[in-house]
């Protein structure tokens, strides 16, 4: 068990070890959704919400069910089921209580089940042996870090939409270069806080 304040982990997860720019998680939806700012904001918010919720549920399930019954090797299946179930429940819940929010977030929720950032947070929390509060801080930071990265990329992509790009680089190529430059900027934060 490492002794770091959850808030430090929260900050570190946003900046020094951004889940997307230094751990490369959640790239698929990152590359495909980041064409528009509004859609990116919607997906990013949904990711923050679901990451925190599923990390909390997964933490409890792992330490209260899997460890006592010695079925830790089933963790992948259990985590996936928990994530899928939580996303489904969230969808029903939001649809029932806030239709407005449902229309802005709703279409992104099914996409999130297969977002590796969410699953990655669950795996990192086990590997790094976080406590419950640290897990919450890490999950919130990771979600917000992801939101920050996708918003920044969407903003840049909208600016360069009309610009000339070499034919072979169009689409994924130029997006990866932009992401690389962003990652380079985030490398500047590294070393200031160490969380693993």
């Amino acid at each position: 068990m490492i002794d770091i304040h959850p808030f430090i982990i929260f900050l570190a997860a946003i900046f020094t070890s951004n889940i997307l720019l230094s751990n490369f998680l959640g790239m698929c939806s990152f590359l495909s959704i980041s064409k528009e700012v509004e859609a990116s904001l919607g997906l990013g918010m949904a990711v923050v919400f679901v990451t925190v919720l599923t990390a909390a549920v997964n933490y409890v399930v792992y330490y209260q069910i899997l460890v006592p019954f010695e079925i830790v090797y089933l963790q992948y299946i259990i985590f996936i089921i928990v994530i899928a179930a939580t996303v489904q429940l969230t969808e029903i819940f939001i649809e029932r209580f806030s239709p407005a929010l449902y229309y802005s977030l709703g279409i992104f929720l099914p996409l999130i089940t297969v977002n590796c950032a969410i699953f990655g947070v669950a795996l990192f929390m086990i590997i790094r042996k976080y406590t419950f509060m640290q897990t919450i801080g890490f999950a919130a930071g990771s979600g917000i870090g992801w939101l920050l990265a996708i918003m920044a990329l969407a903003g840049i992509r909208q600016r360069i939409k009309e610009k000339m790009v070499p034919a072979g680089l169009q689409g994924a190529g130029i997006t990866l270069i932009i992401t690389g430059i962003m990652a380079l900027a985030f490398v500047g934060f590294s070393g200031s806080v160490i969380i693993q």
Binding site: F24, I77, V114
Partner: protein, 199 residues
């Protein structure tokens, strides 16, 4: 289509990484060393081939509404086998790859091949398609990691062959270079093979 055609189509012509832009997460994360890339690639190939086979085997008995969940669970079962195998026989590699072995489950390539191929074709064809897609993926990983390891550490598969006269590019060991190397690969391949096709 013969089996060879299916393999070539899945491995090169419709390569998951450079053609469909799937599975980027792990293609970026594990390519700092060639050994990690090879192990990861083989793990993905194994899970792709066998999950393709299994999904195709029960494709006519799976209700449409729970299809995604069933596919995910089948993939997860095969990935658990890969993970346990690595933990037992190659523990140091398992430690280095860390969560990325488990993350094969959410690797878009597996879901993509399951949906696009295994859900419509016979078990053996799906298995060949899985091996092909896994081969194409391993191929991409090895190219990227070759450049990153030689430039960053002066070695190939952990064997150092460049002496001290070679300045180690520490940027190659860090995250940003993964993005740059992958985009350069994209650029080269698209410029060479796909631009004329489009016109």
């Amino acid at each position: 289509m013969t089996k060879i055609d299916i393999f070539r189509e899945a491995a090169f012509k419709e390569n998951s990484v450079w053609r469909q832009v799937l599975g980027i997460c792990s293609a970026l994360a594990v390519t700092n060393f060639m050994r990690n890339s090879l192990i990861m690639g083989l793990g993905v190939m194994f899970s792709l081939a066998l999950s393709g086979f299994t999904i195709s085997l029960i494709r006519n008995h799976t209700p449409r509404s729970v299809r995604m969940m069933v596919q995910t669970l089948i993939i997860a079962s095969w990935v658990i086998i890969v993970d346990l195998f690595l933990k037992a026989y190659i523990p140091d590699a398992s430690k280095q790859l860390g969560p990325y072995v488990g993350l094969i489950i959410t690797n878009c390539i597996l879901m993509g091949r399951a949906e696009a191929f295994a859900a419509k074709n016979t078990p053996l064809d799906s298995m060949v398609d899985g091996i092909g897609a896994g081969f194409g993926y391993t191929f991409v990983l090895l190219i990227i990691s070759l450049f990153r390891e030689v430039l960053g550490f002066g070695s190939v598969f952990g064997f150092t062959f460049l002496g001290d006269w070679w300045p180690r590019w520490s940027i190659m060991a860090m995250a940003p270079s993964a993005f740059f190397m992958l985009s350069i690969l994209f650029w080269y391949i698209h410029q060479k093979y796909y631009i004329q096709v489009k016109k």
